[in-house]
């Protein structure tokens, strides 16, 4: 299977992306297509002492930045992201991995790869490394949603957790500001009703922020604005507490003595909170695997996103989603 990688997307592009591609090729035996400024790619590989042998390079002179609007993927026709989507559409690869502008990747997926028939909006599904793995969907693609979109997010998330984690009947929760069924905005109140009425879902009700880490559900549904804030708040708080712990060890003599004993364990814990361990996040509902890696991805994270792309492809999630929505009205 062949994975297309946008070499110019993300905070650490191109060096970490290129090294990630190298790791993916060698450790996962994946065929890789790197898309971006060819001279820069070769130069960066050389500087890192990495052989690009066996990795295909497709030149694209332009780049989409984090400041560009989502529509840049349409307007910057020679950007690495746009060229990567073109290759995917033309069948010159089976999946796409990118760490760049999320909004642009969302627009690109929809415009150039298209949604599965019947899917109203694609959504980003991010696995949170909590007490048990939890899929947050939408974690940032759709700022404004309808109750119908949210129900589809729940359905797509359930298929994902079944296929990737083997959970037969994934529990679905709705992220809300209280557990009672009348909580939240009008949209959330009516979505609660629709999710309750959906017989193919195992809906467990509203989930509050404080319960996110504690395994109450397998799929947590919300709009992309709320999802992005929850996701990044978890990330920030995890980092903050770990920093405090480190400071604690350094603040007096006896903990200093204890630190060497614990250093390894603390590192392992930090890695546990590091979403990169689970790889990237798929755009659920798109007709080909498009995986969004974290903007701050390092080489390891890119490799894991490629692994995720391979899983997504081989488990047949897209076939299942195609069957699920075959009879859905394809209206707007």
């Amino acid at each position: 299977m062949k994975v297309i990688i946008d070499a110019m997307g993300g905070d650490n592009a191109p060096q970490e992306i290129i090294r990630g591609a190298f790791l993916a090729k060698n450790e996962l035996s994946a065929d890789i297509v790197l898309v971006g400024d060819e001279a820069l790619i070769r130069q960066s590989a050389l500087a890192q002492n990495l052989s690009l042998e066996g990795i295909e390079i497709v030149h694209a002179p332009d780049t989409i930045t984090m400041q560009d609007p989502p529509t840049a993927v349409r307007d910057k026709t020679e950007s690495s992201m746009r060229v990567a989507f073109r290759l995917l559409r033309e069948g010159k690869g089976d999946a796409l991995v990118g760490a760049g502008n999320t909004g642009a990747m969302h627009v690109g997926s929809t415009l150039f790869v298209r949604r599965i028939r019947g899917v109203r909006r694609s959504a980003i599904g991010t696995i949170l490394p909590m007490e048990k793995p939890l899929l947050l969907v939408d974690s940032g693609a759709n700022i404004s949603v309808t109750e119908e979109f949210l129900v589809q997010f729940a359905q797509m998330g359930s298929v994902y957790m079944k296929k990737i984690f083997g959970i037969e009947h994934p529990k679905v929760g709705l992220l809300n500001n209280g557990t009672e069924d009348k909580k939240g905005t009008e949209l959330y109140v009516s979505t609660y009703q629709k999710l309750s009425a959906c017989e193919t879902l195992s809906f467990v009700g509203n989930i509050e922020g404080k319960d996110i880490p504690f395994g109450r559900c397998d799929v947590l549904v919300c709009d992309g604005f709320t999802g992005n804030i929850a996701l990044k708040t978890l990330e920030g708080m995890g980092l903050f507490v770990m920093k405090k712990i480190k400071k604690m060890f350094q603040s007096s003599l006896s903990p200093k003595l204890a630190y060497p004993l614990l250093r390894g364990k603390i590192k392992a814990l930090r890695r546990e909170f590091d979403a990169s361990e689970y790889g990237g996040a798929p755009f659920l509902g798109i007709a080909a695997p498009v995986i969004k890696a974290h903007g701050s991805s390092d080489a390891e994270a890119i490799k894991n996103a490629v692994r995720q792309a391979i899983h997504y492809h081989t488990t047949g999630i897209i076939d299942d989603l195609t069957a699920l929505f075959a009879n859905a009205p394809d209206k707007e």
Copy 2:
């Protein structure tokens, strides 16, 4: 100064509330009025071996539960919360502290105490114990807001941080799903513009969830739905990481050896993340101090909320807000 306490509100009512009232009276020299089922209050005090001498008790036979709708404060006329608001309105106390139903306290404040003239909506301002103290406003009172409400939240929050923490020009941030000025829903995009244009505010732009702990601003503004989710996500993640740390210490021999050395420090750290240390959260914009204590408040948290009520009263925040909004249009 006299503080009215709803003895029946919160997960640990009435026992912890009564003990908190006892602590507040003895440690803070506050005059206390306890409102609730008199027989239950006396019985609980007796069981805890607490003297109620010098504490006024006002009987109210009914109780508002967490499941009641916000309008219960209007309909349950003999509930402890409603009677507490009546006493505050009649001037039989200077401030009100309660750990009960947030929505009902919000409605009660507005109906029975009223907003300061010119204030469109009151909001809950919660201090987050981060790298430096951060006021999150609104942390849960207003699920739906307008840009005008959000600008007022920023103004009220700035007055609060100036008066309580002595920050001359508090930095104001807008909680959003990215830092760029076009991020978020339409409401957030236009609120960004309005906050930028407001010359009396020190607006520092959009703040992402991952930056909440790291001191980028003193006042963080958002709607109450988003604020509640951010607040509780911080709480849940803090708890989750601390649990992981504890487990880490217990999972192998060498860390076990280190644990006794660190136990005290870890307890102190947990306390640092415990919002009760900062006391309760005021309803900003209400014409008298109404302080919401966390639903899970213990006696110490109630005492701290009483301290907060006293500060709120004595620093003259309400006078400042009254002056600030004196010329605001009082329209709806």
